[in-house]
Structures are given as C-alpha cells and as structure tokens.
Amino acid sequence: MIDVRKDFPILQAGENGAPLVYLDNGATTQKPVQVLDAIRDYYLRDNANPHRGVYELAQRATDVHEDSRARIAKFIGADASELVFTQNSSEALNLVAYSYGLNFLHAGDEILVYVAEHHSNLVPWQRVAQQTGAVLQYLYPDENGYLTEAELDKKITARTRVVAVAQVSNVLGLITPVKAIVEKAHRVGAVVMLDCAQSVPHMPVDVKALDVDFAAFSGHKLYAPMGIGGLYGRKELLKSMPPFLSGGDMISYVHEDRAAWAEAPRKFEAGTRNVGGEVGLAAAMDYMESIGWEAITAHEEALMEQTLDGLKKLPFITVYGGGTAKERKGVISFNVQDVHPHDVATILDAEGVAVRAGHHCAQPLMEYLGIGACARASFAVYNTQEDVEIFLNALKSVRRWMGLES
C-alpha cells in the first residue's frame, strides 16, 4: 500500500477531533501540497493575462497557460490543439450539447443516453432534444448493473447521432464498455460523448486509443482545484463547431457587424482563463504520475476489495451495481436496511467518516433502481485500509442509533 497522507494536511484534522476518514472522493478530492504550491508559485511569480500583453511577464503567463494545456492534453492522450479548457465536466458537456447538438442535430435524430448518467450528461441533451426535435433514447443496465452488447445493438440504430455515456458511473462505479460503444456508434455515423469525470482519477485514459469524439473531465476530482476542467474534441469536429460562449480572446477579428473566430481550441475559450487552476491541474497530473498508475490502481483496487468484502458480511447492507473490485472504479453505493441514507451519513459523520448521501445527480438511475437515494463511499489514493475498517465499523452502529436491531 502507498502512503501519501503526509501530502494532504486536511486529512490530519477531522471535524470531531479524530483524523478525517474522507470517503467522498467521487464528489471532490482533497488537494496535495504539491498542487497548492504550484498554484501559489504561479501567482507569486508568473501571473499576468495570457495572450494579451507584449511585456515579458504576460509572455510568461501565456507560456504557462499553453504549457499547462500541452501537459494536461498529454495526460489523456490528446494533442494540445484538441484540448479546450473549461470550468469542469459540466461546462464541457454543455459546450458539446449546445455547440454540436443544437447545430448538427435535426428532428427525428436520436440521442442515446445511459440511464445511469450524471445529470450533467443528461439534462443538456434533454434541452437539445426539446429544441431540435431530436428524440432522447435510453440505454439500461442488466440486472447485474452491466451495459450489455445486446442492449447496445438494440438501441444504436441508423437514426442515432449522439451516444452520451460516462466511462465510469458515479453511482454504480462500473466501467462502461467504451470500445464496443464507439465501434457500434461509428458504424452508424454517430459521435460518442464520453464523460470521464469519474474515470480519469482512477485509470489511465487515452482518448485517441478509445477513439471517442468528445471527452469531458473535471480537475477537482483528481487532486486539482475546483473551477478547472477540460474537453477533448476530435480536431475536425472542433473545427466545424460554432463557438459556445463568445467575447474576448476567442476571435481572430471583430468588425462592427461581424466577427471571425480564432482557431480551436481558443475559439471555445472566451474571456480570461483560470491559469492558476490549469497550473494546479498540470501539477496534479505530475503528482499522480510520480506515484504511478500501477501503484494507484493496485492501491485503490485493494481498498475496493476490502470494502466490498466487508459490506458483504453485513446482512443489512445492499450494494448497488455488481462487479468485482477489478471491474469497478472509485465508488461503492449502498443502503442500510430501513435507514435513509441521509441518516446513515449523519451517523457516520459523528465517527469522523465523510460519505455522500442523496441522489448523486442521477435521479433517473434512482428511479430505475427503485430507490429515492443511496449512500456512497468513494476512494482516492490517500485512503488507507484503516479508513475502510473505521467505515465498516461505524456502519455497524447505524441501525442501533435508529432504534433498530443491528
């Protein structure tokens, strides 16, 4: 097991005196000092508005901005020219829905969305469907939580124009069969929008090898600050798409009555960028690579296995989504029999354990599972076997607090 807790001062001081057992990493991760130092150094030494000044400091800020882009693009296997900076996955997904969806979809076209999608890869497509007359279709998992080839073959049709799926569901935690989806989608001429928010922190993602058309991710779920994320878009698609937001720095020339756009990716980056956030994201990727994917995946898989085994021994726990520790990434969603997940989360909090409870921005999936809400434990590289033990032990007291037999 790797030990990186020294890099995360926040973990030393929990809310109730005990060290923090932070198991809400699917919502956002904590930030290591290496990332915080990189951001601080940028603001102490290199801060100016990129692409705008001719003085040396502005050039330095421009270099930092573009170097960060190249660094971040490399992490997901993209070219720098294909990486648009956004605030987060949601903005990246909205960019594609509005710029691609609204302009290239027509009445009768089909948008295929997985029922397990986070609202951010679902609601924008609902709006596109309403405005274009395209039809929203859903993919459903089988009884074990898997998205099967048979389901893909049934739903991907000659009318399908967009397939929008997450690489890892933020509730079920299972890895989506992206290769099969891409092959089948491309065969009918549809584009694939991959939401990588929950996958990029836990597994190497290579957008070129996956052959997806768009991919979105958030920095704050992989040890970087909030407010920075990215969109990968295939070069020819980005070229053909009109701007999303418009204004400063996304133009090549503006006349009184018209404007011409800058080349992608700058065409999609109106206004002053979050360069500090980009620096933090690049530093977070350096940090992850310094630990190494092999060590990260082995560590997180061991935690996942320990947790799944422990939960299996508690008869009052229901885990959602099947799959072994190897088929899952990052998250385990569950319920305690006869106890609402919010009460579970409050009781665990009293033991210093932070888990998420609610609908996880995936209400259609909750409806499909026939539950209103669930609790979710999610892992990061700094979690330990001891964290899992504390979590499992705390779960044993939940029903007793609620006046039920344990």
């Binding site: 609402h340 009781i347 209103g372």
Partner: protein, 139 residues
C-alpha cells in the same frame, strides 16, 4: 454534535410509525414539497372545516428527520385553528434558526425535540420541509 440529541426516541419512533402517514379523505388542501438537493418529497394533505384543521396526513419518502418532523407537525396542528397553525409554523421555523423563547418552545410540545437540528446546518432542510410545505399550503 451529539447523536443522542438528534436521534432521540421521539424522532426515531415518529419517523417509522407515524399515525399520520396516510391519505386524507375529503382533503381540502394538498401540496407536494420537495427537497431538490436530496430528492426527498412529502405530499401533505389537510381537511379544513370551519377554519379548523380537522384532519391531516402525509405520504412520500425521506430521512428520519423529515418524516419525524412531518409526523410531529401534524400531531401539533390537527384540531387547531388555521391562525394557530400558522403561528406554530412560525415558531418552529424560528426554533431552527435559533431565535425562539422558552415559552414558545413549550407551545411546540413534542416537535421541540427537533431543536438540536439548529446545530446541524446540513440537516436543517430535512427538518423544515414539511413545515415550509404547510406554510405554503395555508397561504
């Protein structure tokens, strides 16, 4: 936070075995309240006769706090005049924000068991869902 104050017997029992968890025959007022951040919902129904809450009930789903709160609220307001119900609503909501006198707390009877929620901001929304729904319903 002390879990004992939060999950007292009054709260856990009311959350599970509420006498008011039912639809109301001849309801004159019905309103759904939702908590968008967690998906909890409550459908609150009242039968008002001659300016008095003759009967009330709730359906829907939610956590122990929201369910117990709805149950204790109906315990309190059934049989009361509408103005009194509004007055009690006002006291309860002020209790949650910590602006309430001891005399007012007594008026809330068992619903005062939810006072501890004022110290757990993350759960305030659960406690006030049914009361806000009632407030809106009576307006």
């Amino acid at each position: 936070m002390n879990l004992k104050d939060l999950y007292s017997q009054i709260i856990t029992e009311n959350s599970r075995n509420s006498a008011h968890r039912h639809e109301v025959e001849g309801a004159t007022h019905t309103l759904e309240g939702v908590n968008p951040s967690c998906g909890d919902d409550i459908i609150l129904s009242l039968r008002v006769e001659d300016g008095v809450v003759a009967d009330g009930g709730f359906t829907g789903s939610g956590c122990a706090i929201s369910q117990a709160s709805a149950s204790l609220m109906l315990d309190l307001v059934i049989g009361r005049e509408l103005d009194t119900a509004k007055h009690l609503c006002d006291i309860f909501l002020r209790m949650i924000t910590g602006e309430v006198t001891d005399e007012e707390l007594e008026e809330l009877e068992d619903a005062a068991a939810l006072q501890g929620i004022s110290k757990i901001p993350a759960r305030v929304k659960c406690a006030v869902l049914s009361w806000h729904t009632l407030e809106e319903l009576l307006d």
